[in-house]
């Protein structure tokens, strides 16, 4: 509160508009505050992926011969990608559709806010929520399914870049998909259907992924979730598990390439399609 007052009075002396960075950080703080005060929404959104993990993980009990790895451990690793997609793609898709519906975006359009600052605020939000979601999922994996956290710096490095690319690509796609919802009420349905389909055809629920029919696998490979899940499997599973991957390898280079391409594609999609107004009032 003290800082707020100090900033405001300090800025009176300055005539230059505040920088996009400063406004973006201010938006990030606001986004987090709004998000965590929506208690029901937050609890349920956070709880869904870990609940699925705990339930389905308890059903997939068999282990892979010669590796000592259980299906539930594979599921945990893949579910981290699903969990991030849920805190980014699903959450932003629904949240921004609501902001478009309730006038938040129209109001922001009325003030001197660089559009980049709006994006920065969302990034701050999803980085925090996604990190929290990953922490919860890992806790479930470690406590219930004896998942071993990686011991080498190299694997944590892989975790880092897969996390960043997954978060960015799915956030941008979430912002883009919010445009498809006609209203805040329809948004959850509009966003969740493609998300569930994607989880299936990306091998998140099918263990190992090679069990997927060829056609579904080919379609799934076009989208980022398959590659994100593969990336997280490469972090949390021993290299002996590569025999259960489609290519028989972790394919780090290809993962980076596909996720990177989706970041770029998602950005272009956002720039092309983003609307500040709802359909009903345009």
């Amino acid at each position: 509160m003290t800082t707020a007052v100090a900033t405001a009075s300090a800025s009176i002396a300055v005539t230059r508009p505040p920088s996009a960075l400063r406004i973006g950080l201010s938006r990030g703080v606001l986004e987090l505050r709004m998000f965590f005060r929506e208690r029901d929404a937050v609890v349920f959104m956070f709880a869904l992926p870990p609940t699925l993990l705990a339930l389905l993980g308890s059903i997939f009990t068999e282990s892979f011969q010669g590796t000592g790895v259980t299906a539930s451990q594979v599921f945990t690793a893949s579910m981290i990608a699903g969990g991030i997609a849920s805190t980014t793609f699903v959450s932003l898709g629904i949240w921004i559709a609501a902001e478009r519906d309730n006038g938040t975006l129209r109001r922001l359009r009325s003030v001197p806010m660089p559009p980049l600052s709006y994006l920065m605020g969302k990034i701050v939000l999803v980085v925090v929520t996604s990190a929290a979601e990953v922490a919860v999922l890992l806790t479930v994996g470690v406590v219930l399914f004896d998942l071993q956290l990686p011991a080498t710096a190299e694997r944590w490095f892989t975790f880092g870049w897969v996390f960043v690319l997954t978060t960015i690509s799915f956030s941008l796609l979430g912002i883009a998909v919010s445009n498809l919802a006609r209203s805040a009420r329809s948004a959850p349905a509009v966003v969740n259907l493609p998300f569930l389909v994607l989880e299936f055809i990306s091998g998140v629920f099918i263990i190992p992924i090679t069990e997927l029919p060829g056609l579904l696998l080919s379609v799934g490979s076009l989208f980022p979730l398959k590659w994100a899940a593969q990336g997280f499997r490469s972090v949390f599973l021993p290299d002996s598990m590569t025999v259960h991957e489609v290519a028989g390898a972790w394919e780090h280079g290809r993962i980076a390439l596909v996720l990177g391409a989706w970041c770029l594609g998602g950005l272009l999609l956002c720039l092309k399609t983003f609307r500040w107004r709802g359909r009903r009032d345009s």
Binding site: P17, R37, M113
Partner: protein, 313 residues
Amino acid sequence: MNTVLAVAVSFDRRTPESVGWTSRATRDNTHDRGMTAIDVHNLRKTYGAHAAVDDLDVTIEDGEVFALLGPNGAGKTTTIEILTGHRRRDRGRVQVLGQDPERAGLDWRVQIGVVLQEVHDAGQLTVAEVVRHYARYYPSPYQPDEVIARVGLSDSAELRLLALSGGQRRRLDVALGIVGRPRLLFLDEPTTGFDPEARRQFWEIIRALRGDTTVLLTTHYLDEAEALADRVGVITAGRLVAVGSPAELGGRADAPAEVRWLDGGTPRAATTSDPSGAVAELSRRFGGPVPGLVVTRPSLEDIYLDLIGDVTS
């Protein structure tokens, strides 16, 4: 107290009495008088076959409070949305603070404040949090606490927006519209749905901006336009059918008056543009007082209904 100080310090040329709220007019009188804040020519916007705004022309001077008065669906909101850069026009020339709203950038947005209809955002934040946040978008905002006090929300500053009444919510909208110290403020139907008491309180907030800020407000309340505006533009079916001060609107000052009297107990009436002459004539005819003499000028309401009736019927 220190909030007041912060504001006082920042305005070197202000007298202590004018701290915070009056002074742009005083300060800028020398060079701003007579400048045009809004200049619109042949503005047109259609939705399908329906012309929401149909060849609208209007000019609003710096420092003016201008009311766009018209029934629902007259094109008021569309006009405001075009002037604030929220909507593209089909045709016409629009200059707002010297720039075209469709192409204007953030430096232009810094100078305008916008209060739109039907915004229900940020329900979980408090009044103080939201006003402070919006102050940060601007290079030289008013003190947030001062703005909250100005719109009469000091007692509700720590309430979450979800807990506000409709009237309080609208005051918050105004607080967010003015916190950036705008040169030009747009208010789209600011008091729709208010009870009379709340509307009067709201008018005081707008009156206090006079001189400091050019105001364009839309309303479908006649008394609101009359109470607040220097000039009123009557808009109906997308056209501006009359512009003038509330006293002169639609030729009210010299509109035909109705003269009524009793002629041997029978009511008589005549409509004339020279009521004085008519009364003199009657006096002569009656050779003294005219029985039951009544002279009426049309009320603003008559003029208004006449104006919008001409087009709609």
